[in-house]
C-alpha cells in the first residue's frame, strides 16, 4: 500500500476526503510560516506535506513529525483547505504502527490502560481535594473499577495494548528498542 493509502486507513474516522485534501497542497508555505513549532525547531510543515504527497516513507522515521503541538494554526490558514493537523495525526498513527513511538509516549498510554487516566491522582492532590471540600477520589475510573475495566476492554479490542507494548502480567511496558 502507498503511504497515502496507509494514512487514509489510519485516518478513516475523519473520512477519506479529509486525508485526500493533502493533494490540494500547492506548497505555498503558509503553514510553515504560521507554525509555532517551526519557529523554534527545524520542523517544517510544508516539507512534511510535500513528502507525504510524494509518498516518501522516510518521513515515518523522522522525529520531527512529533514536534507538532496540534495547534491547528496551519489548518485554519491553509489557502487550499488542506486538513493539515488531521493528516499529521493520521500520519503519526502510521508511524506508531511501524514501531516509531517514543518511550515517553508509550508511558503516557500505559497510564491510561492502567488507571484510565493519562495523569493519575497522587497523595498530595488527594489531600488538596479534601481541603477544598471535594471527594478525595474523583468519580472517575479511579473510583469505579468496572469503568476502568471498560477502558481496558477497549484497549484490548482495539489492540492498543499491543501497539504500545503493554504487558498485562507486569502491568508495565515491555522492553522494546526505541526506533
Amino acid at each position: 500500500m502507498s503511504l497515502v493509502e496507509d494514512i487514509e486507513e489510519c485516518g478513516w474516522v475523519f473520512g477519506k476526503d479529509t486525508v485526500d485534501s493533502l493533494y490540494a497542497c500547492m506548497q505555498c508555505g503558509k503553514c510553515t510560516g504560521s507554525c509555532p513549532s517551526g519557529r523554534i525547531t527545524g520542523y517544517r510543515t510544508r516539507r512534511l506535506m510535500n513528502k507525504v504527497q510524494s509518498g516518501d516513507r522516510s518521513i515515518l522515521e523522522d522525529p520531527d513529525i512529533w514536534l507538532c503541538t496540534t495547534c491547528y494554526t496551519c489548518y485554519e490558514r491553509c489557502p487550499r483547505e488542506v486538513k493539515t493537523t488531521d493528516v499529521i495525526r493520521a500520519l503519526r498513527n502510521v508511524a506508531a504502527k511501524e514501531g516509531h513511538m517514543s518511550k515517553a509516549h508509550r508511558a503516557t498510554a500505559m497510564y491510561v490502560i492502567k488507571t484510565g487516566h493519562a495523569v493519575p491522582i497522587n497523595d498530595a492532590t488527594k489531600k488538596l481535594r479534601k481541603k477544598l471540600g471535594l471527594s478525595e477520589i474523583p468519580p472517575t475510573t479511579h473510583k469505579y473499577p468496572e469503568a476502568l475495566k471498560a477502558i481496558q476492554d477497549i484497549s484490548k479490542k482495539m489492540k492498543f495494548d499491543k501497539l504500545v507494548g503493554f504487558d498485562w502480567n507486569t502491568m508495565n511496558l515491555e522492553d522494546r528498542e526505541e526506533k
Partner: protein, 292 residues
C-alpha cells in the same frame, strides 16, 4: 435551574482540583447545578491518543460522551484538550452514521449506546451564553484591579469549522469575561500562540514545549501584565508548573507570574477567597492583587 454533567478529565481532578472547586462554586451561584459523570476516564487527549491510534481515541471519547448521553445531560469541560476530544468525537458521530454504527457495535459489550442527544460545551460557553456578561458584572463584589494576559489555548477555538465559535484569529470572548471582573485584558505579542504542551510535545520534548511557554511569558512581562488567565487545565499546568521547569531548564530569571483559570478569577471578583479557589496550591504563588 440548569443541570450539566461535569466531565473532569485528568489534569483538573488529579493535579489542579482548585479549578474544579472554583468552577462548581461559581456556576452554582448562577443556578447552574453540576452532576458527577460517574466512571468517566481520560478524554483521551486528542493530540496524543489521536496521534497514536485514532480508533482507540474515538472509542474512549465516544464512551465518555455516551455516559452523559445516557444520563440525558449536556456536558461541560474545563480543559481544551477534553473539549477537543469530546466535542470532535461527538461532531464526527453526529455527521457520519457509519462511525456511529461502528462505535455502537464496539460499545455494546459495555452496555452503552451512543444516541447523540446531548451537546458538549466548554465552561466558557456556560459563562458567556448561559450566564452572560451582564449577570457576571452584577455579581462582582470585589472588582479586580489588575492587568491580565489572556491565553486562549488552541482547541477551544480551533478548528473553527468544528467548534463553531467564530474566527480563531481575533476572539474576544475571554477578554470580555476578564473585563467583567473589573480587570483589564492587555494585549501582548503572540497572544494566540499555543502554550507548547499539546500534541504529545510536552511528554516527548519538554525543552521545545517550554520554549513556547517561555516566549509567551517574555511577551507578557514586556506588556506589564500582572497575571495570566486560561480556559484549559492542560495549558494551566504548562504555564504554572512550566515556570518552575523553565527556571530549572534554562536557569533564567523567574517570571513569577500568577496563573489563574478563568473561573478562579471570576470567583475572586465574586468575593470568594484565594484558599477556597485552590489558588494557594499553585506552583507560582499569588501576588497581593489576587490574595483575598
Amino acid at each position: 435551574m440548569k443541570e450539566y454533567a461535569y466531565f473532569l478529565g485528568c489534569i483538573t481532578p488529579n493535579r489542579y482540583p482548585g479549578i474544579e472547586a472554583a468552577t462548581v462554586k461559581v456556576l452554582k451561584k448562577f443556578d447552574i447545578e453540576t452532576r458527577d459523570l460517574d466512571g468517566a476516564s481520560c478524554c483521551p487527549a486528542p493530540g496524543v491518543f489521536g496521534s497514536f491510534d485514532l480508533n482507540t481515541w474515538l472509542l474512549i471519547a465516544a464512551r465518555n460522551v455516551t455516559l452523559a448521553d445516557m444520563m440525558g445531560l449536556d456536558v461541560y469541560v474545563t480543559c481544551n484538550g477534553c473539549y477537543g476530544s469530546l466535542q470532535e468525537a461527538d461532531h464526527l458521530l453526529k455527521e457520519k452514521p457509519e462511525l456511529k454504527d461502528w462505535v455502537n457495535e464496539n460499545l455494546k459489550d459495555e452496555g452503552l449506546e451512543y444516541k447523540g442527544n446531548i451537546e458538549i460545551k466548554h465552561v466558557v460557553e456556560l459563562l458567556y451564553d448561559d450566564i452572560g456578561i451582564k449577570r457576571l458584572k452584577e455579581a462582582v463584589v470585589a472588582p479586580l484591579d489588575a492587568k491580565i494576559g489572556v491565553h486562549y489555548g488552541c482547541h477551544f477555538l480551533k478548528p473553527s469549522a468544528v467548534r463553531g465559535h467564530g474566527s480563531s484569529e481575533r476572539p474576544t470572548i475571554l477578554d470580555e469575561l476578564v473585563e467583567a471582573t473589573g480587570a483589564e485584558s492587555v494585549d501582548y505579542k503572540d497572544k494566540l500562540m499555543c502554550c507548547g504542551a499539546g500534541g504529545g510535545v510536552r511528554t516527548r520534548d519538554l525543552e521545545v514545549s517550554l520554549t513556547f511557554t517561555k516566549q509567551k511569558f517574555e511577551s507578557m512581562k514586556k506588556a506589564g501584565i500582572d497575571a495570566t488567565i486560561n480556559p484549559c487545565a492542560f495549558c494551566h499546568l504548562q504555564m504554572d508548573r512550566g515556570q518552575v521547569e523553565i527556571k530549572e531548564k534554562f536557569g533564567e530569571e523567574f517570571f513569577n507570574m500568577p496563573v489563574l483559570f478563568i473561573t478562579q478569577l471570576i470567583g475572586l471578583s465574586m468575593g470568594m477567597s484565594t484558599e477556597e479557589l485552590g489558588l494557594n496550591a499553585h506552583a507560582i504563588p499569588m501576588t497581593e492583587k489576587f490574595i483575598r
